[in-house]
Amino acid sequence: MKFKDIAVFAFNDWKKHKGRFFITALLCLLVATLIFAVTYIAFSTQATAREDMRMYVRERDGVVQVNVDSIGAGKDEEGYAVMPAHLRLLEERLSAVGEVQGIKKYETTHTVDFAGASVRVRAAEDGNITVASGAGMEEAPENGVWISAYYAALAEKYLHINDMVGKSFSALIGDRQISFTVAGVLAEGEEGIYAKSEYLYKTGAAEIRSAEISVKIPDGEYSTMDALSAAVGGAEAEVYPQGGAFSSPALSRYNELKTASALTAVLAAAVAVFFALLMFSVLRNNAVIGVYDNIRLYALMRCMGVKRTDIGLMAAAEISVCAAGASLLAMGVSHAFSRLCARAASAILNSNARVFAWEWWVDIACIVAFTVFAAAYVAVTLHKTIKRKNLLSTMRREV
């Protein structure tokens, strides 16, 4: 048969068997609607997640927190926390993403056993280490400490050390024995031991328990959040390879949204495929509904000398009209339920944001894919059925 003859016959067959094709189209409509619905929910979930992130950042005036936790992490080669350097690195990385507005540190201090007496490293009331400045402080050796005149006097009195400056001692700091050199003596009346902050941290006399860095980022776009995530992740990988020390509520929300929307997309794709297969299974297995009922005519046509390929083309053309028309209508129906899709997306993400999203090219792709799949499936199935050995017996038995 010529293509024109096939088309004409298919058209006439379609017209004559409106009932059969209507049922097929109805089935296609139901399934296509479900496919479009899950597709739109998947897209809306993505869009809602982005909007949620933007809202999150907007609500905080663009300022997000990055937390640093030193517990069980961030030790140097000697086993001590070296937090200030880490904080500086993180601050530097975050500066590339936004403006670092402040760093809040939560510190703890230890008792120092020095010159026979337990003394506490001076700390301000807010918990921040205060290091007294004094002449020569900056030039003091790395492990240099300053002592107050009071302790210098005690040392002189009981240890008979007249000039402590420049002398090296051992002291117990926390549970560690360290050596240091007295860099100088502070003014009379001031109590305590003083050291360069870096040295305090290195020796463990002081520790930063945790810190919060506030960064003002330009917006809550995924690109910005990606940059923030890369900055934090990069710094963490560098100083805390074992991970788990840096965290950010904003990044947590960002990752949560991304994961939920990605899972929704995967699930939607699986559901769409399932529905499509279900429909074709129904069409294939139930010989009394829809286009498959037409197989009697197709088998008869083969007996009348029409090639299987031509019959397949005819069936494909006929089912295409059902599938394309139905999926076009399904697209419209699904659009009408846009609010419902947005609400579903919002519920999935547990978000206050609610966005309905779609892409025209996805609609076109869905319609084409559904139609081609339906046509190919029916044509191939039909091709196999009417090819079956002993067609006459098959017709008698099944058709």
């Binding site: 048969m1 007996c303 000398g305």
Partner: protein
Amino acid sequence: MIEIKNVTKIYNGGKAGEVKALDNVSLSIEDGEFVAVTGESGSGKSTLLNLIGALDAPTQGEVIVGGRDISRLSEEQAAKFRRENVGFVFQGFYLEESFSVLVNVEIPLILRGAEEKAREARAREMLAKFDLADKEDALPAQLSGGQMQRVCIARALAGGAQLILADEPTGNLDSKSGSAVMDVFRTLAQEGVTVVMVTHNKEFAARCDRVIELKDGRVQ
């Protein structure tokens, strides 16, 4: 003339469900002969009809129809052969319920791209031949079983077939209607049309020129 030479047909060859439907069958049928093929279910009757109608090819042997070996035709050649030479008549009629009687008879002509006027004329000619002229606008559901089978025969012949392959054509009919169909076949045979009819009905088989009985894929 139809010649079946040493034909063997095996389904699912070499597989677990291998079935030898025909086993080295040889026979010949003259032009204008009215032949009944009988046998129990699974004896190979339908397989024989499939092979003569070029719906399938033998595993071994030759099927020669009108001097032409049809056992090794391509799909396209086989389709052309059926279109030009063979008309099928089925137990279940297979009339399109939503088509009128006239359109049902026209189907083979539509499929070969005949002009509307020409095919309507030919269909009417066929319907008149089988006393169905007044039924051309009726739907199949409005006909009796015997009338439906006559429409089926008219459809089989509309394309000019000289070979009718009838698969249990009286199976769904009462004895009176069945007998009328047998009369139609007899008339056709007298006009030179070869009729090969598969039947379980011994009475109708006895009215044919010859009975070919198959058992376990062999001619008895």
